[in-house]
């Protein structure tokens, strides 16, 4: 990519980021107060700081990231880091108060409990975020290799399918050495990259009507095929993995990007119809889908069995009320058992809403809306279609995922086992979301580099090559 190198001028000039700094101070202050509140509640009535190592380390990480942004001087968004920082900080507060043996991980001699482990993953995610935000100046590596990315994605899924491990009846994780990861978290980024690349090239065509399915106008069918194939494959494999939340997320993001690229409501309607048809099909076919839906409709039908998890979650909401019980005063355990199974992954929102109340819950919803606002603003301000679609798609991945799991928590939609971005425990999810925010930050910098020119077609390249060869020959001969 010679042109990219040509454009890369590393003029590093530090630039203050006052807004980001102030917001980080506010978030850090809130987290510190939360930490003291949490430890005071856990220890009894006196003011207690507990062992603040984790929090200090985390706040230090945020500060280092901020300084790195300042020193490298890119004109990137200043809101996203404080917002994600606050979310991940809340996650840390929550993990610190849950039983530490909920999740453990050994690295050689070291064995980390839940909270340190979460901090480890948060650190990894934020370092990746920082690296991407600082160094990514060209998007050619995403733009031109969409089919390669698609292939990598499918490959990852196949790897999981063949070598994956089952947890909770879902075949999701892939183990490399000591670390197990969930490639479907990366797959959602890859899907967005592919869709953005493909639609940026072809959206004018797709927006045109050239064929019809009954009353529904359709674009030239051949141009839909690669996309539908990619999406269908992803969906099929995910259904094999029984990851319903993931499938729903893919589907909604797919529809949204398609709509943004074509502004055609008929695609969304068609997609919705297909979705409900598919849901009905899955409902009749798969017992576990049926179970999930039935629990959703009436969790109190079997409060001690099937509905246990969701009923317990509703109790927690009720206990929280408007103001919440206060950090640390919730009920993570009853008689030595977790009050809500899978609290640290599926019900983090419930746990926070119990302890921080309706006000805290609404604040968390608002944080995700802020992410949506920033991300979509970046999309609207993007220099070209690919960047716009990429930014919008990446934003949607985070915000829609949060909506699906929160909706499951408050019983608006059936519960699925996907994570709440930046808050749920889980390395793969944190890393994937860190990558997303990092890319968004990089895309938000409009000062550095114009989008790369359209790539030459094969014929043009061939022609150029021939001319070059011809030129050499010419030179040599003369």
């Amino acid at each position: 990519m010679t042109y990219a190198v040509a454009h890369r001028r590393w003029r590093i000039r530090p630039r203050l980021r006052t807004r980001e700094f102030l917001l980080l101070v506010a978030a850090g202050g809130a987290l510190a107060v939360g930490w003291v509140s949490l430890n005071s509640t856990l220890e009894g009535d006196a003011i207690s700081y507990g062992d603040p190592t984790l929090l200090v380390a985390y706040l230090g990480l945020l500060l280092v990231l901020h300084l790195a942004f300042v020193l490298t001087g890119r004109r990137t968004d200043e809101i996203l880091l404080p917002v994600t920082g606050l979310l991940a900080g809340l996650s840390l507060l929550l993990m610190a108060r849950l039983p530490q043996d909920t999740a453990t991980q050994s690295f050689g001699r070291f064995e980390l409990g839940l909270a340190p482990l979460q901090l480890f993953w948060i650190t990894l995610a934020f370092v990746l975020l920082g690296i991407l935000a600082i160094t990514v100046r060209s998007d050619g590596w995403l733009r031109y290799y969409k089919y390669t990315w698609a292939a990598i994605g499918v490959g990852l899924l196949l790897l999981v399918f063949v070598f994956g491990e089952e947890t909770n009846g879902q075949r999701l994780s892939l183990r490399v050495g000591p670390i197990a990861g969930q490639p479907s978290e990366l797959l959602k980024i890859i899907l967005v990259v592919f869709l953005a690349g493909y639609l940026a090239d072809n959206r004018a065509l797709l927006a045109r009507t050239s064929s019809r399915l009954g009353p529904i106008p359709l674009p030239p069918v051949p141009y839909l095929l690669p996309m539908v194939a990619m999406w269908g494959l992803a969906l099929a494999v995910i259904l094999v993995q029984k990851d319903l939340g993931g499938a729903l997320l893919f589907f909604l993001v797919f529809l949204a990007i398609l709509y943004i690229a074509t502004l055609r409501l008929s695609y969304v309607l068609l997609g919705t119809v297909l979705f409900f048809a598919g849901s009905a099909f899955l409902y009749t076919l798969f017992a576990h889908v049926r179970g999930r839906v039935d629990i959703w409709l009436d969790p109190f039908a079997d409060p001690q069995g099937q509905g246990f998890q969701i009923v317990r979650a509703l109790f927690a909401f009720g206990r929280g009320g408007v103001l919440g019980t206060g950090l640390g005063a919730g009920l993570p355990e009853v008689g030595g058992n977790p009050a809500i199974p899978a609290l640290h992954t599926d019900f983090v929102f419930t746990a926070l809403a119990e302890e921080l109340g309706l006000l805290g819950g609404l604040a968390i919803l608002f944080l995700y809306l802020v992410i949506a606002e920033r991300g979509l603003r970046i999309a609207i301000g993007a220099a070209d279609d690919f960047r716009a679609l990429l930014a919008a798609g990446l934003t949607l991945v985070i915000v829609v995922q949060a909506a699906i799991i929160i909706g499951g928590n408050v019983r608006l939609v059936p519960l699925t086992g996907i994570t709440l971005p930046f808050v749920s425990y889980g390395g793969s999810s944190l890393v994937a979301n860190g990558i997303i925010i990092g890319l968004l930050l990089a895309l938000s910098d409009r000062g550095v580099e114009p989008p790369p020119p359209p790539r030459q077609t094969r014929r043009e390249r061939l022609g150029a090559g021939l001319r070059r060869v011809a030129g050499r020959v010419e030179e040599a001969v003369s």
Partner: protein, 502 residues
């Protein structure tokens, strides 16, 4: 900004704005969903008996006490050896009211109804609910004071000793239940015993349902009422304006001799007191408890109005009460006549409390209380006050339920019922209920069970007639005629209550 529409493709900016709007709507929806659970449903969820916090608290936290009207302890706590809290019932005679609270079998009775208050998770005061979050100890157990008067409860239980049956005594002007007895009964102390409770419960459950001590006959037992039901018919007839107290049926004297034929079915009086006498009106018809007179009243009223007026008294659905109640009925409801009667025969029989009429003693005590209270039916209540450990107090005030009758109509029925106790002929049936020196009203009942053994013995009544302080319903199952068993029990109870210094 997106510079140009590339190749005629639509603007991305517009689409993104629309998606942003959709997202905002979704998040507003999520916020509303959250609000629903944390505000609207919060109280119900926080005090749900299945809530692990409630379950845990009921194990280890002392519960509020249950007290009688004068403060006598009916239920309090003792610590078990393992730190769990055991209930103690110093006055097992109130078992039909208090119910039990076992670590193994859950709760019943008031222990169940007021579980969250007794545990101390609910106080009904929203401001305090909010403040509670700032307290280290979230529990504030509430003592519950009942309208039950232990001395009357004891007396009623003693009078019913050895019989199957029930007694409900109620203050007509307030709707407060002062005694509620169901026999046979059980000892809650034995039931909740961690070691021997299981065997005791199994023994109780092994008994056939019609003699099960676990069934609260006063509120959930449904019995054929016989003649006490005539008061319901009188209420329907007068209330609907179908009859006046002076209304007579000209054919009735002759029918008293030969029987009253309704669609081929012959209705007779159980005695010949109406023979060779002038036609009966409400007063004489009630005094001698004439089936024929009341069959006429029922038929004149018509099935629709009859069912409707019974419903105004609470028939047809469970009575809202502090204990679970069974609905009383005037008919099985499967017929095609209005109100669900099969035909006029059923209506005529129902009018004097046979056919498919089934009533709870609580319902019949409300009938007596409504008449005694000049036609206004008060909501029946068992709880008069609650006081939490932290001093939050809540009074439960009397509450009118409905006005059933005009004071004039109620007054007519009062006089008719007084004649039934004090009249020359009435005294043969319900004279045993007369409280010496006090104007007394009442109605006896002998509920025939279709030739299966002895009839149910019934009495409902109130005293003093001019300013009633107590209304009672008494049933002794299959114990004989009304006058033989239930009437004297009712009289003794009213006398005892009026003689108590309170």
């Amino acid at each position: 900004m997106i510079s140009e529409n590339q190749g005629g493709a639509p603007s991305i900016g517009r689409a993104v704005l629309r998606v942003a709007l959709a997202l905002a709507l979704v998040y507003v929806g999520l916020g509303l969903g959250l609000t629903y659970w944390q505000v609207v449903e919060a109280q119900r969820l926080a005090t749900d008996p299945g809530n692990p916090l409630v379950v845990e608290a009921t194990r280890t936290e002392p519960r509020g006490r249950i007290l009688d009207a004068r403060g006598v302890v009916l239920a309090d706590n003792v610590r078990g050896p393992d730190g769990s809290v055991l209930r103690r019932y110093p006055q097992p005679v109130t078992a039909p009211v208090t119910g039990y609270r076992s670590l193994f079998f859950g709760t019943s009775g008031l222990e169940r109804t007021y579980d969250s208050e007794l545990v101390g998770l609910s106080q009904g005061n929203p401001a305090d609910e909010v403040l509670r979050k700032f307290r280290s100890d979230p529990y504030d157990p509430t003592d519950i004071t009942l309208s039950i008067e232990l001395r009357l409860q004891r007396r009623a239980a003693d009078l019913l000793e050895g019989m199957r049956g029930a007694v409900v005594a109620i203050e007509p002007a307030t709707g407060r239940v002062v005694a509620l007895v169901s026999n046979p009964t059980f000892d809650p102390n034995r039931l909740i015993d961690p070691d021997r409770g299981q065997a005791y419960l199994q023994a109780l459950q092994g008994l056939p349902e019609d003699r099960s001590p676990l069934l609260n006959r006063a509120t959930q037992g449904r019995f054929t009422p016989g003649s006490v039901f005539k008061i319901v018919t009188a209420i329907a007839g007068l209330g609907s304006g179908t009859i006046e107290p002076e209304t007579i049926f000209p054919d009735q004297p002759e029918e008293a001799e030969r029987g009253f034929r309704v669609q081929g079915f012959t209705i007779r009086d159980a005695h010949r007191l109406a023979v060779d006498r002038p036609p009966l009106d409400l007063f004489s018809g009630t005094e001698i408890s004439s089936n024929i007179y009341y069959a006429h009243v029922g038929l004149e009223t018509g099935s629709a109005a009859f069912a409707d007026w019974a419903a105004r008294l609470g028939f047809g659905q469970p009575i809202p009460f502090d204990l679970p109640t069974a609905p009383s009925q005037v008919t099985g409801g499967r017929g095609n006549e209005p109100g669900g009667f099969r035909d006029l025969v059923e209506l005529a029989n129902a009018a004097y409390g046979q056919a498919e009429t089934y009533v709870t003693p609580l319902q019949m005590s409300l009938v007596a209380a409504a008449v005694a209270n000049d036609g206004v039916l008060m909501r029946p209540k068992l709880v008069t006050a609650m006081r939490s450990r932290r001093g939050v107090e809540r009074r439960v005030d009397p509450e009118a339920w409905t006005r059933v009758l005009s004071p004039e109509d109620a007054g007519a029925i009062q006089r008719a019922m007084q004649l039934a106790v004090e009249g020359e002929l009435g005294a043969r049936f319900a004279g045993g209920a007369k409280v010496p020196g006090v104007p007394t009203a009442g109605k006896s009942g002998t509920a025939e069970l279709g030739g299966r053994g002895e009839p149910h013995s019934w009495f409902i009544g109130f005293a003093p007639v001019d300013a009633p302080r107590i209304a009672v319903a008494v049933i002794a199952e299959q114990a004989g005629r009304g006058a033989e068993v239930a009437v004297p029990i009712g009289g003794e109870l009213m006398e005892y209550w009026l003689g108590l210094d309170r």
